[in-house]
């Protein structure tokens, strides 16, 4: 087995009748690494993930997962290795109950009905959602849906977890829990996101895409102090690394109930 878990070489792709969405993209992912893919709107992040998971086929270059090339022929095998969490959990949740939804993937992979209970409960416990097992997915809150969607993918025990905008539409507390969750997973992770604070907390490396090209591939702290590069990629420093104007003197602020 190679020590590169995911290897992307010279990848190129264009939607029909458009400028290339990805152009000569190359990078590798090692075992256990957590890597972020960042870039402004339209930079090509979602397109890249679609190529990795075989929903789109590259025009140039190749992708290897372990020893397997991403091709039509290898897709069934790859689906066991790559766990893809969709941007919108509503697109992913399908079954009438959370339990059955989490069981959907492992049953398709051939986990036997005797073992399924253990697998499902374990996956739900990992995301702290065991109490939701009997609920209907569409009745859950955004954060709960996300947790269940992630459990559905974890239950398939993938080697690589691929997440598209995982903190999208989460409130601060749910986002915090998600970050804690991602930090605890030992999976190799590839996360496409606009949430640079999440990157700072979870990822050890960042790939910056801009107009379909890799602009940088560096450690988060190095990258986020390079303002020129950030601007070029339509990004800003994470909030936690931004310096603010001085906070108004607290004595000017009266308790709310006094203001009438």
């Amino acid at each position: 087995m190679s020590h590169h878990l995911l290897q992307v070489e010279n990848l190129g792709f264009a939607y029909p009748g458009q400028a290339p969405a990805l152009d000569k993209v190359s990078f590798t992912l090692h075992h256990g690494e957590a890597v972020a893919v960042v870039g402004g709107n339209g930079a090509g992040k979602s397109t890249l993930l679609q190529l990795l998971t075989g929903f789109l086929m590259p025009a140039q270059g190749q992708i290897r997962v372990g020893e397997l090339r991403v091709e039509r022929r290898t897709l069934p095998q790859l689906r066991r290795t790559l766990g893809f969490v969709f941007q919108n959990p509503d697109d992913q949740l399908f079954m009438p109950t959370v339990y059955e939804d989490v069981a959907f993937g492992p049953l398709n992979l051939g986990v036997s009905p005797q073992d399924i209970d253990r697998v499902v409960i374990h996956a739900l416990e990992q995301v702290g959602a065991a109490s939701l097992a009997g609920r209907a997915p569409w009745e859950l809150s955004g954060g709960q849906k996300r947790a269940v969607a992630i459990a559905g993918v974890l239950a398939m025990q993938p080697d690589i977890l691929i997440l598209d905008e995982p903190s999208d539409a989460l409130d601060p507390a749910a986002r915090r829990r998600l970050i804690g969750l991602l930090q605890r997973f030992e999976h190799t992770k590839l996360i496409a996101t606009h949430d640079l604070d999440l990157v700072l907390d979870v990822c050890s490396r960042v790939i910056v895409l801009s107009q379909g090209r890799v602009l940088a591939n560096a450690r988060p702290l190095e990258l986020f102090s390079d303002d020129a590069l950030l601007a070029q990629a339509s990004l800003e420093r994470p909030l936690s690394m931004q310096t603010r104007g001085s906070i108004p003197n607290a004595s000017h602020l009266r308790p709310i109930r006094e203001i009438k």
Partner: protein, 270 residues
């Protein structure tokens, strides 16, 4: 448009209702599916002017309603939605078929009124049976039962996807129309002008298509190969056999013997 979103989500509630454990939900999905089809089939085989003799078949939805502990309000609400469609089928009959026919209260009326009443009754029994099957079984188990009964997976998946996409279309439609209403910025016009309607529908279609694609991709990503699998395969019990046999025999009896008439004769000793 909030109305449409609401209507869809209340149909979707059927799946939550089906998740509870009730007497009706413990009956095997295959038994319930076959019984429902049989009842509807027998219903369709009655001559077109029959009204009173159809009534015993209403026992089937009533039994599902009670043993499934389905809220009556839910059923009535959904039936109201279906009523216009049923009415549309038979609305013109009293005029198309004016030949006089003896009515229970003596004076002859147009035969079309009988066929209209008959269509209405059949429609209500059939639709409520279908709704209650859904509310006591859930779409996934119905799909599973269909494939267990030997229907090809392609067909079963069509049913499941259609059901799923129904909600997708509804959600996208509701969202698009809401966005349009907000941007209309308080102009007091009701309805959508035709040229905008076209754009609106195109937007809904495009978004529905994209979402449908993503839903399908998400299933493929989780190893879906066209065959539906359930965590616990349903088992056939004696009670399922009894249920099915009863609901095959009873509609047959109702079809062959006019039960209300016979009962009436027995009671009045005529």
């Amino acid at each position: 448009m909030a109305g449409l979103a609401h209507a869809l989500s209340s149909i979707r509630r059927a799946d939550s209702l089906a998740g509870r454990s009730t007497l009706a939900s413990t009956i095997d999905a295959r038994a319930k599916l076959l019984a429902s089809l049989w009842v509807v089939g027998v219903l369709a085989s009655f001559p077109s002017y029959e009204v009173a003799s159809l009534l015993p078949l209403a026992l089937f939805p009533v039994v599902l309603l009670v043993t499934g502990e389905v809220p009556l309000g839910w059923l009535c609400g959904r039936l109201l939605l279906a009523l216009p469609f049923v009415l549309m089928v038979g609305m013109l009959n009293p005029w198309l078929d004016p030949s006089p026919m003896a009515s229970p209260w003596g004076a002859p009326i147009a035969a079309g009124w009988f066929s209209l009443a008959s269509i209405l009754l059949r429609g209500l029994i059939a639709v409520s049976s279908a709704l209650l099957l859904l509310a006591t079984t859930g779409i996934i188990r119905i799909g599973y039962a269909m494939s267990a009964l030997g229907l090809p997976a392609v067909l079963v998946n069509q049913v499941l996807f259609l059901y799923r996409y129904l909600f997708v279309v509804g959600e996208e439609l509701a969202r698009t129309v809401q966005a349009w209403q907000l941007r209309r910025a308080g102009k007091p016009r009701h309805g959508v002008p035709p040229h905008q309607l076209k754009l609106l529908l195109a937007a809904v279609l495009a978004r529905t298509f994209q979402r449908a694609m993503r839903i399908h991709q998400a299933m493929l990503a989780r190893g879906f190969d066209g065959q539906l699998r359930l965590p616990s395969a349903p088992r056939w019990h004696l009670r399922d056999t009894v249920f099915l046999l009863f609901w095959i025999a009873f509609p047959l009896l109702a079809r062959l013997v006019d039960i209300p008439l016979t009962l009436g004769r027995l009671l009045t000793g005529a």
